[in-house]
């Protein structure tokens, strides 16, 4: 079950997207999140869709893997769709579903919003799939660098982020291990009445908390032992390098934006 999760996971491959600078990737994702709200008819959604799938193609992440990992999120998308369908009361009535009326506008909104949601999820997971956590935090730290002037703790934020990203797989492994140990002691996580299943979470959560606190403490000691004293004057081993691809990708997104503005109604 845990094995299928793809959030925060890096899939190494030799692709154009992998080679991009994290700064440009982060900028593109940020702009994409804004730009996607320009879409308001099927042409513009088609443009966004084509762009998203083009980027996935460039990244060389196997589609089947992406699909398998996003399956749980698809339910959320479907839920959004249903919510829109049932709660929008505008336009002509398309058909009746028992006491419920399905409106034309609701149908449209349902499709648009769930597609928007879907593309957003795809693009953001593409970021984490093609960029190592360390690259992401390095990128963020430089992008947010100017905020240091207003005493925003950029370095600490970046450190916190990289630590939490770093420990996602560890925590997953730990969860898996403790789950197995408790299953061996007769706990049923996946079957039985709902009440029992909720109760079954306790033997999992408490050991996880205990080990997380312990690990945090050990990490802090290890960092101090190696002379860590915050971001002041700290130099970087990995230097970021802006390449031609990065500029081209930004230009490409700009073209997409222009197209969206032209085609939106």
């Amino acid at each position: 079950m845990m094995e299928k999760m793809i959030f925060g996971r890096y899939v190494p491959a030799d692709s154009l997207v992998h080679k991009m600078d994290p700064r440009s990737k982060l900028t593109i994702i940020f702009l994409f999140v804004c730009v996607i709200f320009l879409a308001n008819n099927w042409q513009t959604y088609a443009i966004i869709g084509i762009y998203t799938f083009f980027m996935i193609g460039l990244s060389r992440i196997p589609a089947r893997f992406l699909y398998g990992g996003l399956k749980p999120v698809l339910w959320l998308v479907i839920f959004t769709f249903l919510l829109q369908i049932f709660f929008t009361r505008e336009g002509t009535v398309l058909f009746h579903l028992g006491p419920l009326k399905i409106y034309e506008e609701g149908m449209k909104m349902g499709f648009y919003i769930s597609f928007r949601f879907f593309f957003l999820i795809l693009m953001t997971s593409l970021l984490t799939l093609t960029t190592t956590p360390i690259e992401i935090t390095d990128g963020l730290e430089t992008l947010l660098g100017p905020l240091k002037k207003v005493r925003f703790p950029v370095h600490e934020m970046a450190l916190m982020m990289s630590i939490s990203l770093r420990f996602i797989p560890t925590l997953m492994q730990e969860t898996d291990k403790i789950m197995k140990a408790q299953i061996a002691r007769g706990v049923e996580f996946a079957s039985g009445p709902v009440k029992e299943r909720i109760k079954a979470i306790i033997p999992l959560l408490i050991p996880l908390f205990v080990s997380s606190f312990k690990r945090a403490e050990e990490l802090a000691i290890a960092m101090e032992a190696r002379g860590y004293r915050g971001g002041e004057g700290r130099t970087k081993y990995r230097q970021l390098s802006w390449k031609m691809v990065d500029t081209l990708q930004l230009v490409f997104l700009a073209i997409i934006t222009v197209l969206l503005i032209l085609f939106r109604s």
Binding site: K180, I183, R185
Partner: protein, 289 residues
Amino acid sequence: MDISLSHVDYRYQANTPFERLAIQDVSIDIPSGTYLAIIGHTGSGKSTVLQHLNALLVPSEGTVAIGDKEIKAHQKNKDLRKVRQRVGIVFQFPEHQLFEETVEKDIIFGPMNFGVTEADAKKRARVALKQVGLAEEILEKSPFDLSGGQMRRVAIAGVLAMEPDVIVLDEPTAGLDPRGRKEIMDMFYQLHQERQLSTILVTHSMEDAARYADQIVIMQHGKVAKKGTPEEIFSSPGELVQMGLDVPEVVRFQLKLEEKWGMNFEQIYLSIEQLSSAFANKLKRGVRL
């Protein structure tokens, strides 16, 4: 209860870019009452094999028979709980699985999950606690207030209280001091002797494997590289060294003796006592040094 694995393959994360064949064509028979040691390097597939022994993992290919229950690849396997009741697993660092408010509650957690009454489970908890060498006063304490070694023992008691027919140990003494190690290993050996409990020990320690096991399986790169009795396994040390494994100290000492003084023992001795008496006999008979 007999356990047998036949031609078992297991793939982690099948159908993803991370897919990895962890074990391949593994066949092991564990008749009731055996003490089996599985040795091998980190990543050799020992732990994966171990998790098949009580159906925590279902084989990707092949069959695992646990008592009269058969667990096959490519099918829904129901009622695994009964199997799990009869096969207790002590995982590596089992103290990580403690969670209850008191030691007693934690020990009775397993038995009660399998439908033992509370009164019965409490009786079992006392017996198990005694087996692992802890005093009864500890029952009312929080497991998180105990020392590491005590926590380990409590966790082991939690598995013993399930009264399994087979006990599976994944490096149960990792990180303990030498005395604690010996006490725990001796305790499991005693249980094995007294109750004819099948015991499967996954370990790095050749000493433990030689001292306690009556069958040894060596895993390498996800396959069974060799199986046999300790005498068979350790009689060809060259092969072991080639696999990057070691032989027990006693055997190493015997080999050195043979090499240095040109002595020739008839067999490989796995304990210091045996070797020294054999050595003494030779001296008595007047072997030239």
